[in-house]
Symmetry: D2
Subunit: 142 residues, 4 copies
């Protein structure tokens, strides 16, 4: 089949994130938006660190959830109400207390459901620190 | 078999949370710690709200993760390094922009793994807003 | 809210299973169908045993999947095309090489999605042997 | 780091499967075993078909579970007692009533836990029909 192309680019997606989540302005940099995949960088601050100098589980959840939101919106366009219905997340390695890099991929982009996964990397750590499978519900177009 | 009893009570668990997560002091109230189960209340602040007046997915993840941490520690005692290895979470209903109540239950408490689930309620919403299955790795005693 | 009642009883559900899955006739006994919950018994045969005298993972998956199918159909009526979209399953204890008992519960029964869980017991084993969270897609009525 | 190499090849793995699961002899063909990944083909028989001419969910679970078992054993050697502790599976598309192809990948191969995923393809269907994240417990060496 013909490859499906994104309908929003990196800069448009960042502006949209800043618009709908103003309290997180500047937290995410969208490094890449391509067909059915995206790569983000997430700034980690003091509040997201844990004893032992690592990044908290909820911060990693935020990273995969946001990356998946971006890859879905990049493909279907501005739909703030798209919501996560399901996420299965495995924590595999201790991240460094540094920014995270997340790669999200869509495996299915249907009319009502999007299914895919997201992998989190921590610079300096070999192998992914975290992996998640996600499902998003896409609200019917009006 | 004889029912296994908790080794920490509500107040001891709250103090421990404040000690290991000082940046979240006062965020969680532990309403109940009983055999293999716990109930918590989590304060929701402006930063955790989303457009449409609801609570964010990462905030609900934080709620289930913390509740499961509490029920595990309540049964095995102070072990800050216990870590989530796996979480499968379903988002079912839109919570109100209010505090969340979480009930966590252990289904297995082995020497190296604890398995159970956590259910999130939003006062005023009928039925759970979110449900998660979690696995924790318990570090070997030294 | 008023409690929602089942629209099929135990015997009707068993007959429906035998009709749509004739190759499994007699494998499942439906012990209970009540509001938003069901209990089944699944016959275990030689082919589902594993070395060490235990029941295979795929057999336990079959048990949770069938029990969830039954509880959904019991509430919405005969809809053979209802399909599993998602299942997160934790294997906790080694079952005995015997029949399994499964309890399924619905936490949400919407127009297009049903969400709930199923817990598997093995007679003689203390505590559940397996627990799963499941999501079903309900096809639009015609 | 130096790439970790498999310790069993395709033929050795097939022989091992036939030995530990004699009731499934010939069901799986191992097409590839490479560093941290494997590809299998699973024969589908009448018993695994469903109304509407598709493959059952439990058959797809069997495919991902077996493929993950193979990739783990291919890397660590013959350990029949390695067991699935957790699987999160998404069913995305209706497979054809034909043999399935499964690709399994390891993301982490620790001393006690192996974590990775498996993707199922149905010849003639565009895109994966099913995707699963799995965790295996590796028993301590004696």
């Amino acid at each position: 089949m013909a490859q499906r192309e994104p309908v929003m680019n990196e800069r448009e997606l960042e502006e949209f994130l800043d618009e709908v989540f103003p309290q997180q302005r500047g937290k995410f940099t969208i490094e890449k938006m391509a067909s059915m995949e995206a790569r983000l960088r997430m700034k980690i601050t003091e509040a997201e660190l844990r004893p032992g100098g690592t990044v908290s589980g909820p911060a990693m959840f935020t990273a995969v959830d946001c990356a998946f939101y971006v890859v879905v919106l990049g493909m279907i366009g501005r739909q703030a109400l798209t919501v996560t219905t399901n996420c299965a997340i495995n924590f595999m390695r201790k991240p460094e207390p540094k920014d995270l890099v997340v790669e999200a991929k869509l495996m299915k982009l249907g009319k009502t459901l999007a299914v895919g996964d997201a992998t989190v990397f921590s610079p300096g750590v070999e192998g992914p620190v975290c992996h998640a499978s996600l499902t998003y519900a896409i609200p019917p177009a009006r």
